[in-house]
């Protein structure tokens, strides 16, 4: 091969590898600062509402336990999900692996990347008793505990702007028909009925989750998650997708929803600036709005309610979807010293009274038992008791589907759902494509 040809090859290769290396740099924050090193455990957290709470908790732990210190880094949600998996696969993952439970956790368990915590939980009954049992269950795979809840319960909630509702003279929708009837009302008033962070794709999913839940009940998704053949063919899925497209057709979502990223909180901003009347989002955005739009929240202009019922639907209206909590798993590749420090933190450093109080003060409901009186005493008690009640009373709490499914299925689902919102495919095409991913 001549030099010139070699040079062309090199050019082409660098063109290809460039994209990968740029991706690695793009996700910000220090990389691979873990596994080896000074022996301290490493922890990757998420930016957003719980960031200051976690930061303080770890700082308090480090100042009291200089011999078992924890090194903490934060990442944005979407960037984290990509980064942590790559890092763990490369043996460079953190000691504490932040997760959501479900199918993604299972893929880590199958790969032998996370510690079995069953014995630890057995030896430390205090840890187990700390949690709401229904939440604790989401960290178990095949009856063994692989992850322990680490923050707050996060059901998906329908938020609305009371000021906008008053101006239009509307009531929050209790049924799907009422919701559809509200759309033209708000459009006439020059307000988008619903805000949506469509570029991030996962906010689209909340619509599908709740509609399938209300129409067909929790069994529909339970069958999908159990990899039953043709589970996506359930008529409830098609009906839910059809309803979504009807809402898109009616102009239910804000102009440009497919270019709005939820990671930058632009979807919440539309709600509190009065440009949109409602947003269907996780319980976690309350903290963000409390911080970014203080007077909107403290002034009582933020309303919240449950997702509307669908006429003839089989699902219990009290059922919820969302994230029961986030979880810590402990890396199986960590050194014994790191594992020991990590477990000690889980036992004594996490959910201290200070942590729990800080979570409540930030506008979140910690997943711990016996906090009713504390929630009642909070300035955010309306929202907090609403969320706590929602989670406690729900006959079924379905984990966000993208986390409950295997990563390959979850990604295919989000891409195809994006196509549904853009009306590029029909519900039938969605069902056929998704049936083909079962078992992957």
């Amino acid at each position: 091969m001549t030099t010139r040809k070699l040079r062309s090859v090199a050019m082409a290769i660098s063109a290809a590898t460039l994209s990968v290396s740029l991706a690695a740099c793009g996700s910000s924050g220090p990389a691979g600062s873990t596994a080896a090193g000074d022996g301290s455990a490493s922890m990757w957290g998420l930016t957003g509402g719980n960031q200051p709470v976690l930061q303080k908790s770890v700082e308090a732990w480090n100042s009291a336990h200089s011999d078992q210190s924890i090194k903490l880094d934060f990442f944005a949600n979407d960037a984290y999900k990509t980064k942590v998996r790559t890092a763990v696969g490369a043996g460079e993952g953190p000691t504490f692996i932040y997760g959501w439970g479900g199918g993604v956790l299972k893929s880590y368990v199958d790969a032998g990347q996370v510690e079995d915590l069953s014995a630890f939980v057995k030896e430390n009954p205090d840890v187990k008793d700390r949690y709401l049992p229904s939440v604790l269950k989401n960290g178990e795979i095949d009856g063994k505990t692989y992850a322990l809840p680490n923050n707050n319960v996060q059901p998906v909630v329908l938020y609305y702007n009371k000021e906008v509702f008053d101006k239009v003279g509307a009531q929050p929708p209790k049924t799907w028909d009422e919701l559809m009837a509200l759309v033209p009302k708000f459009k006439e008033a020059g307000v988008a009925p619903f805000s949506l962070g469509g570029q991030s794709k996962w906010p689209d999913l909340m619509w599908l989750e709740y509609l399938v839940e209300r129409i067909g009940g929790p069994e529909v998704f339970a069958n999908i998650a159990a990899d039953k053949p043709n589970a996506w063919s359930d008529p409830a899925v098609t009906e839910a997708l059809t309803k979504i497209q009807q809402l898109v057709d009616a102009g239910g979502f804000v102009n440009g929803f497919s270019s709005i990223a939820a990671d930058s909180n632009a979807d919440q901003a539309l709600l509190y600036t009065g440009k949109a009347a409602m947003v269907l989002q996780g319980g976690w955005i309350y903290q963000g709005m409390k911080k970014d739009a203080g007077s909107f929240v403290t002034g009582g202009k933020l309303g919240f309610t449950t997702f509307p019922t669908v006429e003839g639907g089989k699902g219990d209206p009290a059922n919820v979807v969302g994230n029961p909590s986030n979880f810590w798993s402990i890396s199986a590749k960590a050194t014994d010293e790191q594992k020991k420090a990590a477990l000690n933190y889980v036992k004594d450093g996490m959910f201290t009274d200070a942590d729990t109080d800080a979570l409540i003060a930030s506008g979140a409901v910690p997943v711990v038992n016996g906090i009713d009186s504390k929630l009642e005493a909070s300035p955010d008690k309306d929202f907090l008791t609403f969320v706590y009640g929602l989670a406690k009373k729900a006959p079924s709490f379905t984990l966000s589907w993208d986390q409950a499914l295997s990563p390959a299925q979850g990604d295919a689902m989000l891409s195809n759902l994006d196509q549904i919102f853009l009306k590029k495919i029909t519900p039938e095409q969605f069902v056929a494509t998704m049936n083909a991913t079962i078992g992957k």
Binding site: S8, A16, R85, Q199, N255, S258, A266, D418, K424
Partner: protein
């Protein structure tokens, strides 16, 4: 004077030893050839990034070739390469010729032109995303009806917005290359042309353009092969969306590998990308003419 064979040998011996290329070759092997072989190997396996790598034969290749998203990604890539070239090449050529002059105000303008070159792609993407926001961006802010469009959410429009942002970022770079090329042209050529009565357009067409031949080839190669690799800008600006409208091949490869965790298929896509990049680079060199390998330096 006749050169004897012993003379010839002496001449060759004084040249640089081939061993001087060894360090570069080692780097090339370690950082280019070995990873390339790794990618080719991975394309015949199934690997989710966590579990063991399993040999699967042609399964990933079948997946890639039967997936309509791959075809779409190729089409999007081709469109972006084509439109970026059509937009960037003439603008940077003209700007390069213009800024090659020595007047003072041109120096000031040149500094302004080159500003985008200093910004990282991610910063450029974030800035444009904010400016083009249909609810909080430039249009609603200034109340200019034309600007109030869903620039990044409209599947028909978004590709051209991407091409525009790419051009905004990279035109300065190519302008710089052309500027350097134009400054290399001997002024005596222009003086002679002026005496012969050639006008500015004539001078541009008959002197500047032919003299810039090699600069044009270099710039075009960088432009085309570079646009094959656009990733960070589009990743931050649109995430490949809406739908698949801006999901070009490198982004498709990344999302397949790191979002869907299908490293086998992602590697197959990587190989396709390398083959296309190689093909295009060779094609452009060929278009440069038969004597493309001849150096312009005297004596070499």
């Amino acid at each position: 004077m006749t050169i004897t064979s012993s003379d010839r040998r002496r001449v060759r011996d004084t040249g640089p030893s081939g061993w001087l290329a060894a360090p570069a070759l080692v780097f090339f092997l370690v950082f280019a050839v070995v990873p390339l072989a790794g990618v080719v190997f991975l394309s015949f396996t199934s690997w989710d990034g966590l579990r063991e790598i399993r040999l699967e034969g042609l399964a990933s290749w079948t997946t890639v070739f039967t997936d309509p998203v791959t075809g779409n990604a190729l089409l999007v890539t081709a469109k972006i390469v084509f439109f970026s070239f059509i937009v960037q090449a003439p603008i940077s050529l003209l700007l390069g010729v213009f800024t090659a002059g020595s007047q003072k105000y041109r120096a000031a303008l040149a500094v302004l032109y080159f500003l985008p070159l200093l910004l990282s792609s991610a910063a450029v993407a974030i800035a444009f995303k904010a400016l083009l926001d249909p609810n909080f961006g430039l249009g609603p802010g200034l109340q200019v009806p034309f600007l109030i469009q869903d620039w990044l959410g409209n599947s028909d429009l978004v590709l051209f917005v991407v091409v525009f942002v790419i051009a905004w970022q990279f035109v300065p770079f190519h302008t710089l290359i052309y500027q350097g090329g134009v400054r290399q042209i001997p002024t005596s050529l222009y003086e002679a042309a002026e005496i012969d009565g050639a006008g500015r357009v004539r001078q541009f067409l008959n002197i500047t353009l032919p003299q810039l031949k090699y600069t044009i080839i270099t710039s075009s190669t960088l432009m085309v092969v570079g646009s094959l690799a656009y990733f960070d800008l589009i990743f931050v600006l649109t995430g490949g969306g809406p739908g698949y409208s801006t999901r070009l091949l490198p982004l498709h490869m990344y999302l397949t590998g790191f979002k869907a965790n299908d490293m086998g298929a992602a590697s197959a896509l990587g190989v396709i990308l390398i083959v296309i990049g190689l093909g295009l680079a060779l094609l452009l060199q060929r278009l440069g003419g038969k004597n493309r390998n001849d150096s312009q330096l005297e004596g070499a």
